[in-house]
């Protein structure tokens, strides 16, 4: 149980640190959990005068960890109980993702992890136009989404589903740097929005006929204007062309524009 709680706490602390833009804990070189927590606190105290991890939590973890290592995994039950309490408190911490400039996988191998962090001056210099409140807004949206998910898992309500969809769209639009594009994961043909666009193919077919008859009508009209003697032979063609064009436009507007409304 002791090993379990230490692994869980270690993972949670790592996750918090990474999301805040700090490098992960150096497990191979023996950096302890409480040492990492102190480091995070020092960085944020220096930059923003705030404390991420409470001092008493750090102290309790320090005592438990030293005891754990000294006694080779054997710690008293009350220490395990304290560790579980701290773990669940850490889980309650809502930490926004402060990374903005990550674009490709190469950063995972980078030793200069810090330059991608929100706190890094290099990251701030690269991205002058980004809304600095965006991570906090995103966090609020995620918080609201999680609470909606819990409520909807118990009971489905139409308004809450609509709110959840609206929040998702808001989150996607905030994440989306290229305006008005629908983002998708995996393969496009599985995307729901894409499935709905297939109906446009019939609309485009009608549009093709409209464009064609428009062109033919324009040519015939020009010909009749230049050579009035051809009117007797071309009037049938011209009237047919215009008639079909009007019909197609009527069908197009009725079928497709009304549908989109």
């Amino acid at each position: 149980m002791a090993v379990t709680i230490f692994i869980l706490t270690s993972n949670q602390v790592d996750q918090i640190g990474i999301r805040l833009g700090i490098r992960p804990r150096k497990k191979e070189s023996g950096e302890k959990i409480f040492e990492y927590m102190k480091r995070v606190n020092v960085i944020f105290d220096h930059n923003l005068a705030i404390q991420i991890f409470k001092e008493d939590f750090v102290e309790i973890i320090r005592e438990c960890e030293i005891l754990f290592l000294r006694n080779k995994g054997k710690i008293p039950f009350y220490s395990i109980k304290n560790m579980f309490h701290i773990y669940y408190e850490l889980r309650k911490l809502e930490v926004p993702n402060l990374h903005k400039t990550l674009k490709d996988d190469s950063f995972l191998e980078s030793t200069q992890f810090g330059i991608f962090s929100f706190l890094s001056p290099k990251a701030r210099r690269k991205d002058n136009n980004t809304n600095i409140l965006k991570p906090l807004i995103m966090q609020k949206i995620s918080q609201k989404e999680l609470s909606l998910q819990r409520e909807l898992n118990n009971r489905l309500e139409r308004q809450k589903i609509e709110t959840a969809i609206h929040l998702k769209m808001m989150r996607k639009s905030l994440n989306n740097e290229r305006k008005n594009k629908i983002t998708f994961q995996g393969v496009l043909k599985d995307n729901l929005s894409y499935q709905n666009t297939k109906e446009f193919l019939f609309e485009y077919t009608i549009l093709a006929f409209i464009v064609l008859f428009l062109c033919l009508g324009a040519i015939l009209f020009t010909e009749i204007s230049y050579y009035p003697s051809t009117l007797s032979q071309l009037n049938t063609w011209f009237i047919t062309c215009v008639g079909v064009l009007i019909l197609l436009i009527f069908v197009y507007l009725k079928q497709f524009k009304n549908r989109s409304e």
């Binding site: 230490f6 070189s29 594009k181 983002t183 077919t205 033919l216």
Partner: protein
């Protein structure tokens, strides 16, 4: 059902490209003169690549004299059109918008397809307006009787132009669909959120509870005799790490 629809239109697009390519080798326009006994006196057919040609022999003096004026569609446009058809065919065959892993270059492909569509429209619209009508070559089908000479004049568009019309109808829907899809959708690649999730997953230690429970059970079974020899691997890592720093 729905994905078959897209595939169907894609096949129609390819068929349209074949019609387009074919149209360059067929006659676009024909001009004929008949006498009152319906004997053919003059016959000229126009092809965009090979200009005017006649099925009648050189013995027909009237035929030679009645040769219409050269139309001379620039050969560059024909060449660009043929290249665009081939490139567009490659794009639609091998860069399927549905199966694409990356939407980054799709937008460039849409420009090629859109350019081809504009070229087709150019041939459909500009050829009759700027090349035929100024030379008194009527569109699309005219039969004139000259009562004085007794000759009957027949002007008509050829299978080449008809193929072009059919090709336009076949390629238009999928072309617009491709263009709209490429502009509307974007693959969600490597957002900061996704990359941070990857890093968190990479740094996390796996917690295999079944394994730990099994280890505890083994420990308790061998509690008296073998406990001193049993080494918990996870514990070992923590202890070694602590020893290194001390």
């Amino acid at each position: 059902m729905k994905s078959n629809l897209i595939q169907g239109f894609r096949v129609l697009y390819l068929v349209g490209l074949i019609f387009l390519l074919l149209s360059f080798f067929l006659d676009w326009y024909s001009f004929q003169i008949f006498d009152s006994n319906k004997n053919i006196l003059v016959s000229w057919n126009y092809n965009v690549l090979f200009e005017w040609s006649t099925p009648l022999s050189d013995d027909f003096a009237l035929n030679r004299a009645s040769r219409p004026e050269n139309i001379s569609v620039p050969w560059v446009i024909n060449l660009i059109a043929i290249i665009s058809i081939i490139v567009s065919g490659y794009i639609v065959l091998f860069k399927n918008v549905e199966q694409t892993e990356s939407t980054k270059y799709l937008i460039h492909f849409t420009y090629v397809n859109a350019f081809l569509l504009l070229l087709v429209l150019f041939f459909l619209l500009v050829f009759p307006l700027l090349y035929l009508l100024p030379r008194a070559l009527y569109f699309p089908l005219i039969y004139l009787e000259d009562l004085e000479t007794g000759f009957n004049y027949f002007y008509s568009i050829g299978f080449g132009y008809l193929s072009h019309i059919i090709a336009f109808l076949l390629i238009f829907p999928y072309n617009i669909f491709y263009f709209r899809t490429a502009n509307q959708f974007e693959k969600e690649n490597n957002t900061p959120e996704m990359l941070v999730k990857k890093l968190i997953k990479r740094t996390e230690e796996n917690l295999d509870l079944d394994k730990l429970i099994a280890q505890e059970e083994i420990k308790s079974k061998f509690k008296n005799s073998n406990q001193q020899h049993y080494v918990d691997p996870i514990l070992n890592r923590y202890i070694k790490g602590a020893e290194n720093t001390e």
